[in-house]
C-alpha cells in the first residue's frame, strides 16, 4: 500500500469514528436502548443480502410482541396523533439515531467514505434500529430517503417500495465535510431546534386560549413584526429564538447548498427534504409532494424587519451606538433582501429536487 493509500485509509477510519461519536450519538441512546432485542438478529449479518422476510422470520415471540407494541410510537404525528412526553422523547431520539445512517449514506455518496468501510457498521445499525416493521414504516412517513438508500446499498431490503440510490461521486468529500460541520452545529443549537420543531408541527399551546395557534401567531410576527396582544416576556423570548432559528436555517442552507454543483447538491437537499417541504408548504402524499397553503416562504418583508428591529433595539436608541431611522431602514432592507435571496435559491433547489425525486422513485405504489 502506498503512503497516500495508507494515509487515506487512516483518515477514513478517523472520519468514520467522528461520525460515530457526533452529538447525535448521545441523543440516540434512548431509542437505541428502547429498541434492544433478544432475537438472534446478528446471525443475519453473515448473509450478503437480508430480506424483510428474513428480518421477520428470525424474531422470537417476545420481539414480535414488542414490534406490535411499537406501532403507536412510530405512527406519523399527522393528522392528529397524540404522543406522551416519553413517546415524543423516544421519537426525537430515534430521529437522531437515524442521523447516523443518513450521514453514512451521504458520506458514501460524496466519496467522503468508501462503501467498504461503511458497510459493516451500516448493516449493524440498520438491524439494531429497524428490525421492527413499525420502525421501517417510520422511514416512509418522514421522507428518510437516505436511510433507504444506504439499506439498499448494503444489501438490506426494508420491505418498502424500491428506491434507486444515486451514483456516488468522487469529488464531494469536502462538501460533505462542510455539511458535517453544519449538522454538528445544528444538533446543539436551541434556536434551530425550536424552529425545526415548529416546522414539524410541534408548537406551544395556550391553556387559557383555545384559539391560540402558535405557528400562525409566529408567522404573523415574522411577516408583520406584530406580537400577539397578550404576549408576555416568555413569548417574546420564544419568538425571537424561533426567528433566529428560522433565519439561520435559511442563511446556512443557502450558504452551503447554493454554491454546489447541481450533480452534488441533490444528495444534500434530500437530507433536508422533510423540513424544506414544510418550509415551502408541501406534504408528501400517495402521488408525491403536493402543495398546501402552509408554507413559510413569504417571510422577508422589509417593513416587518423594520418593526422587529425598532422593537429589538429600542433600548439602544440613545448613546454612542444609537441607531438612526435611516440605519434601521438600511438594515431592514438589507436583511429582507438577504432573506429573499436565500428563499429564492432554496426554492429553486427544492423544485429541482422534487422533480428528481418524482422521476427516481415510485413512492408508495
Amino acid at each position: 500500500m502506498s503512503t497516500t493509500s495508507a494515509e487515506r485509509l487512516k483518515e477514513e477510519k478517523s472520519r468514520l469514528d467522528e461520525i460515530l461519536r457526533g452529538p447525535w450519538v448521545k441523543n440516540a441512546e434512548l431509542a437505541r436502548k428502547s429498541l434492544t432485542f433478544t432475537s438472534d438478529l446478528h446471525q443475519l449479518l453473515a448473509n450478503d443480502r437480508i430480506s424483510a422476510q428474513d428480518l421477520k422470520a428470525v424474531l422470537n415471540s417476545r420481539d414480535r410482541r414488542r414490534a406490535r407494541d411499537l406501532w403507536h410510537r412510530f405512527e406519523p404525528h399527522w393528522p392528529d396523533n397524540q404522543f406522551t412526553v416519553a413517546e415524543s422523547d423516544f421519537r426525537d431520539s430515534f430521529d437522531d439515531a437515524l442521523t447516523i445512517l443518513q450521514l453514512l449514506e451521504l458520506a458514501v455518496e460524496t466519496g467522503y467514505l468508501s462503501l467498504e468501510i461503511v458497510r459493516p457498521i451500516a448493516r449493524s445499525e440498520i438491524i439494531a434500529l429497524l428490525w421492527a416493521l413499525p420502525a421501517r414504516n417510520f422511514l416512509d412517513s418522514y421522507d428518510y430517503w437516505t436511510v433507504r438508500y444506504i439499506a439498499d446499498r448494503v444489501g438490506i431490503d426494508l420491505g418498502l417500495p424500491k428506491v434507486m440510490p444515486p451514483q456516488p461521486v468522487s469529488n464531494g468529500e469536502t462538501q460533505f465535510g462542510a455539511f458535517l460541520a453544519l449538522v454538528s452545529e445544528w444538533s446543539v443549537d436551541a434556536d434551530l431546534d425550536a424552529w425545526l420543531g415548529m416546522l414539524d408541527g410541534y408548537v406551544f399551546e395556550d391553556p387559557d386560549d383555545e384559539e391560540y395557534y402558535e405557528a400562525e401567531a409566529f408567522y404573523e410576527f415574522l411577516t408583520t413584526g406584530d406580537l400577539p396582544d397578550e404576549a408576555n416576556l416568555e413569548d417574546v423570548l420564544r419568538y425571537f429564538s424561533l426567528a433566529r432559528g428560522a433565519f439561520k436555517f435559511l442563511f446556512q442552507l443557502h450558504g452551503i447548498l447554493g454554491p454546489m454543483q447541481e450533480s452534488e447538491r441533490y444528495f444534500f437537499v434530500i437530507f433536508f427534504a422533510y423540513y424544506l417541504s414544510k418550509f415551502f408548504g408541501y406534504e408528501l402524499e400517495q402521488r408525491g409532494y403536493v402543495a398546501t397553503d402552509d408554507g413559510w416562504d413569504e417571510i422577508g418583508d422589509a417593513s416587518a424587519f423594520h418593526r422587529l428591529l425598532s422593537g429589538a433595539v429600542g433600548a439602544d436608541l440613545s448613546g454612542p451606538t444609537a441607531m438612526t431611522q435611516d440605519q434601521i431602514d438600511t438594515a431592514s432592507k438589507a436583511y429582507a433582501s438577504t432573506v429573499r435571496d436565500a428563499v429564492s435559491t432554496l426554492r429553486t433547489l427544492w423544485n429541482e429536487t422534487m422533480i428528481k425525486l418524482a422521476k427516481s422513485h415510485s413512492k408508495r405504489l
Partner: protein, 251 residues
C-alpha cells in the same frame, strides 16, 4: 499525481488539506465570519484546492487549514485572534494532529474573521513569536469597514461589537492605527501585505463607506468582485477571481 488528503475534524471545527508528497512547509489559514462554518464558508474552494492545487505552480507549495469557532461564545475580536494564534502555533510546532511543521503562513479571512485577523496583527501580545517575519500575506474578504448593519439583529455579545461604529470597531481601528504607526517607525519592512477584497453586491458590510474610512496599513489597491457578501468566498470553478486572489496571496 494528486496526493492531497482532507483531514477533517468537525468536532474541533477545523480541517487540514495537506499534500502527502512532497511535504509542504507553507500554510494558508482560512478564518470564517459570523454564522459561518470552517468549511461551509468557502463553498467549493476546499474541493477545488484538493483537486487542482498540486498542478498549480504557486499553490502546490502550500497546504490549507480551515479553522472555525463558535460566534455565540465570543466576547471580543480577541477571542478570534486567540483561535488563529492557537492554530498557527500548533502548525508551527508540528503537533501530532497537524503532522508536520510549517514555517511560513498566509491568512485569509471573511467578514467577522477579518476582524480577528486585524486584531492579531495589531496586538503583539497575542501574536505567535516573531509572527511578522513568517507572515507571507493577509487577504481580507468582505471586511466590515465600519461594522455591519445586520449586527443589530444579533443577540450575541460579538454582535454588539459588529454594529456600525460600535466601541469595539472604533477601538480596533485605533489599535490598528497605533500598531501600524509603531511598526512603520521602528520596523519599516515588517507590516504585512494586507489585500482587501470587496464585493460590489455586498449589502451586509458597509462597503460604500470604504473610500472614506481607511484602515491604516491596508494595500490601497483593493480588489473588487461582482459578488455579494456570502457568495464572494465561494468559487464555482478553478478558473475564478477568488482562486486568483488566493494564489496572489501565496505568490
Amino acid at each position: 499525481m494528486n496526493t492531497r488528503i482532507l483531514h477533517n475534524h468537525s468536532e474541533e471545527r477545523w480541517a487540514l488539506l495537506k499534500r502527502a508528497q512532497p511535504e509542504n512547509d507553507r500554510l494558508t489559514i482560512f478564518v470564517h465570519g459570523y454564522d459561518g462554518t470552517y468549511l461551509g464558508t468557502w463553498g467549493n474552494l476546499p474541493q477545488l484546492l484538493h483537486d487542482n492545487a498540486d498542478e498549480d505552480s504557486v499553490l502546490r507549495k502550500w497546504d490549507f487549514l480551515f479553522m472555525g469557532y463558535n460566534h455565540r461564545t465570543l466576547s471580543t475580536f480577541i477571542d478570534i485572534a486567540d483561535r488563529i494564534r492557537d492554530e498557527w502555533e500548533r502548525a508551527e510546532n508540528g503537533y501530532p494532529s497537524i503532522g508536520r511543521k510549517y514555517k511560513r503562513f498566509a491568512l485569509v479571512g471573511h467578514s467577522l474573521g477579518t476582524l480577528g485577523i486585524r486584531q492579531l496583527i495589531c496586538a503583539s501580545s497575542l501574536q505567535p513569536r516573531d509572527m511578522f517575519s513568517k507572515l507571507h500575506s493577509v487577504t481580507l474578504f468582505g471586511t466590515p469597514m465600519t461594522g455591519s448593519v445586520l449586527a443589530w439583529f444579533s443577540p450575541w455579545a460579538i454582535g454588539r461589537s459588529l454594529r456600525p461604529f460600535s466601541p469595539g470597531m472604533t477601538m480596533l481601528h485605533e489599535w490598528v492605527r497605533s500598531a501600524h504607526e509603531h511598526t512603520m517607525a521602528f520596523h519599516r519592512d515588517k507590516w504585512p501585505r494586507i489585500k482587501l477584497v470587496h464585493g460590489q453586491a455586498d449589502r451586509i458590510v458597509q462597503t460604500h463607506a470604504r473610500h472614506m474610512i481607511n484602515w491604516p496599513g491596508d494595500d490601497r489597491r483593493e480588489a473588487n468582485t461582482a459578488s455579494g457578501h456570502i457568495d464572494m468566498t465561494k468559487p464555482q470553478q478553478w478558473d475564478s477571481r477568488l482562486v486568483d486572489l488566493i494564489r496572489e496571496g501565496c505568490a
